[in-house]
């Protein structure tokens, strides 16, 4: 599904060079729930952004579904994201002027899906995250947990093969965190999607099939969770 080969990322800030990622290689399997765990500044977000084609690696390649992401032009990578990738952000990033329903249907809007169809799909998604009553609410009228559930509905609405989530619960309390995590996992399993998580919270990592420990831009160790692999993946 996602093949990371010898990816290196170096930021230059004036004279100074910051090695965000040193040399990372990893294969992520289809329908896997994979979590990158590491302290702040270890390079997790950088890796995720490179995988999503938001940033180009200094060295190495990322192959998703046989396509080399770093070779694509911005136009191509945008189209590719539109078709294949969903995103859940730490700070939700809902559009403040749109209602919950409009926010959820946004990825479908970008694809040119007609309004009645995308409204129906978005409605279903909102229902499955338990926000049926909030479809007409603007983000400012919802709590953090509700906003993130809208964010999740939006990430999954177009049924992309891969969903990225960068610290999806970073702004939530522990109880909401649990709700949001299980919501995401259930969706990913239901639609047989690959979910790639980034967090610094060990307890969240426990939800994943595999935990990849990142330290200073390197993979420290990989921990397979046999228990969760029971679904017969790999």
């Amino acid at each position: 599904m996602v093949n990371i080969q010898n990816v290196r990322k170096v930021y230059k800030i004036g004279e100074e060079r910051v090695v965000a990622l040193n040399d990372i290689s990893l294969k992520i399997h289809p329908e896997e729930i994979c979590c990158f765990l590491g302290t702040s500044g270890s390079g997790k977000s950088t890796l995720l952004n490179i995988m999503a084609g938001l940033e180009k690696p200094t060295k190495g390649t990322i192959t998703i579904q046989g396509k080399k992401i770093e070779k694509m032009s911005e136009k191509e990578v945008t189209k590719f994201r539109q078709k294949n990738i969903g995103f859940v952000f730490q700070s939700y990033n809902l559009l403040p002027s749109l209602t919950a329903l409009e926010n959820v249907s946004l990825p479908l809007t970008f694809r040119g899906v007609p309004k009645n169809m995308r409204d129906r799909i978005a409605m279903e998604m909102l229902e499955s995250v338990g926000l049926k009553k909030h479809i007409a609410h603007k983000p400012s009228q919802m709590s953090g947990g509700q906003q993130q559930r809208v964010g999740i509905a939006r990430a999954f609405v177009s049924k992309p093969p891969i969903v990225f989530a960068d610290e999806p619960t970073g702004n939530l309390d522990s109880k909401t965190t649990e709700e949001v995590m299980s919501l995401m996992l259930n969706m990913a399993r239901e639609y047989k999607q690959t979910l790639i998580l980034v967090t610094h919270d060990k307890s969240i990592a426990e939800f994943a099939d595999r935990i990849v420990y990142i330290l200073d831009g390197n993979i420290e160790k990989v921990e397979e969770k046999g228990l969760m692999k029971g679904a017969g993946i790999e």
Partner: protein
């Protein structure tokens, strides 16, 4: 994204910042209406020139006079023996674009109708040309080729009549009211003698040698429609009859007749009127007549120089208006750039969620275009209101000069052009911000807190 969604989203974004959007639109409104109103003044000027001129006569006409024909290169009096005669008329008729040529002779005659009497110019004309030259009757009919003694009168000609038996003859346009006279049914006597019918003054001996003036019985067959031109003040009759009258009058009362008709010779015409099919050909025809050595004159000539003036005027006025639209354009760009700063994060999110780059550009162009279009539309409404007001106020003191035209005219084409222009201004102003939004780094955008 489909177009409807784009439009909705753009509208939504504009409505989100109502005050700012309105202020930006206001700039376009002012810009558009100042251009439109300024241009409308120039256009009105153009129109009123045209109206004034066409009131003076048809714009398709060229007059060639029997005097002053020394064109370029020909010394006055010397060189060519140039005559405004049948030969000249024929050559003018050959010129391409000429629809008809009307040779004209004028006699000043006295006509007596019952108790009334009037002195007036009678123009000899070939009856078949009357239609070509736009003669239209109000009552009766035009001249026919067989009409030897028929006369058609101009509308204002009754003003020339008065009753000589009254102490204070009320005649002329200064009279308190137009004299009542029926030129169609009365028997008319025409003579070239200006003394006919006057009461003789005591003590003035009649010259026994002088033959009595020759009298002609004529009949009025038609009164022309009022045309606000020289046609209103002339009477018309068959060229052959007039020719005969002129010749006979020359024979009977040599001295007087000679004086009255000036230097006119029998085989020459006093004036030739040329009708051109198309206004646009007038200049070319005129040029040709000039090369024949004559000095042609047309209202189109005048119109040209008037148009030149009003074009300059329009350029200046339009320029003033353009400055304010330019300021408005800067306003649009500024608004769009500010909007990008505010929406940086949003644009980033949209990109990450898979919005096409072109869609993002379109969205911003659309917003700028809508400001331009909306401003243009409101600007037009304002322009029409201002124009209305100007015509109400300005119509009063310029009324005499401006005629029906008013001082501000906004033709439909100007309105459409203004709308298109303001939209284009919006699009152009939005172009660079839209590019900027499109090229924004998604990552930077979502990272910015």
């Amino acid at each position: 994204m489909n177009n409807l969604d784009l439009i909705k989203m753009a509208l939504g974004n504009l409505l989100r910042r109502k005050t700012r959007t309105l202020l930006t639109i206001l700039g376009v409104v002012i810009g558009t209406s100042s251009i439109v109103v300024m241009l409308s003044l120039g256009i009105a000027m153009d129109y009123s020139f045209k109206e004034q001129l066409s009131r003076m006569g048809s714009l398709n006409l060229i007059d060639v006079n029997n005097y002053g024909f020394y064109g370029e290169g020909i010394a006055p009096g010397g060189g060519k023996d140039l005559k405004l005669d049948d030969h000249a008329v024929n050559s003018i008729r050959q010129i391409q674009g000429v629809q008809g040529v009307m040779p004209i002779k004028t006699a000043y005659v006295r006509i007596v109708a019952g108790k009334m009497m009037g002195n007036l110019p009678v123009i000899g004309i070939q009856p078949e040309l009357m239609e070509v030259f736009d003669f239209k009757v109000e009552t009766g009919r035009l001249l026919m080729a067989s009409d030897k003694d028929a006369i058609v009168f101009g509308k204002q000609i009754t003003m020339n009549f008065y009753n000589p038996r009254l102490r204070n003859p009320q005649f002329g346009p200064m009279g308190p009211e137009p004299p009542k006279i029926d030129l169609m049914n009365n028997k008319l006597i025409l003579t070239t003698s200006m003394e006919y019918g006057e009461r003789r003054m005591a003590g003035v001996e009649r010259d026994p040698n002088q033959k009595p003036p020759k009298l002609y019985k004529v009949k009025g067959v038609g009164i022309l429609q009022e045309s606000q031109s020289e046609k209103d003040y002339n009477a018309y009759m068959h060229m052959d009859t007039l020719q005969k009258i002129l010749e006979e009058s020359q024979r009977t009362e040599q001295g007087e007749g000679q004086r009255r008709r000036g230097s006119q010779q029998n085989d020459q015409y006093e004036r030739v009127s040329v009708k051109v099919e198309d206004i646009n050909q007038v200049e070319a025809v005129q040029e040709q007549i000039k090369t024949m050595g004559f000095q042609p004159f047309s209202l189109t000539d005048m119109l040209k120089s008037m148009k030149e003036t009003s074009r300059k005027m329009q350029a200046i006025l339009g320029g003033i208006g353009a400055v304010s639209l330019f300021v408005a354009a800067i306003g649009i760009t500024n608004t769009m750039v500010m909007s990008i700063y505010e929406r940086t994060r949003e644009i980033g999110v949209m990109k990450v969620l898979g919005a096409d780059l072109t869609d993002i550009r379109k969205l911003f162009l659309l917003e700028a275009g809508m400001i331009g279009f909306g401003g243009g539309l409101l600007g037009l409404v304002l322009s029409y209101l201002i124009s209305l007001g100007l015509n109400k106020i300005g119509g009063g003191f310029l009324g005499g000069m401006g005629g029906n035209t008013g001082i501000s005219v906004i033709p439909f084409q100007l309105a459409m052009a203004a709308l298109a222009f303001s939209t284009i201004v919006g699009l152009v102003s939005g172009f660079s911000p839209a590019r900027r939004a499109m090229n924004l780094s998604a990552l930077e955008a979502i990272r910015s807190e």
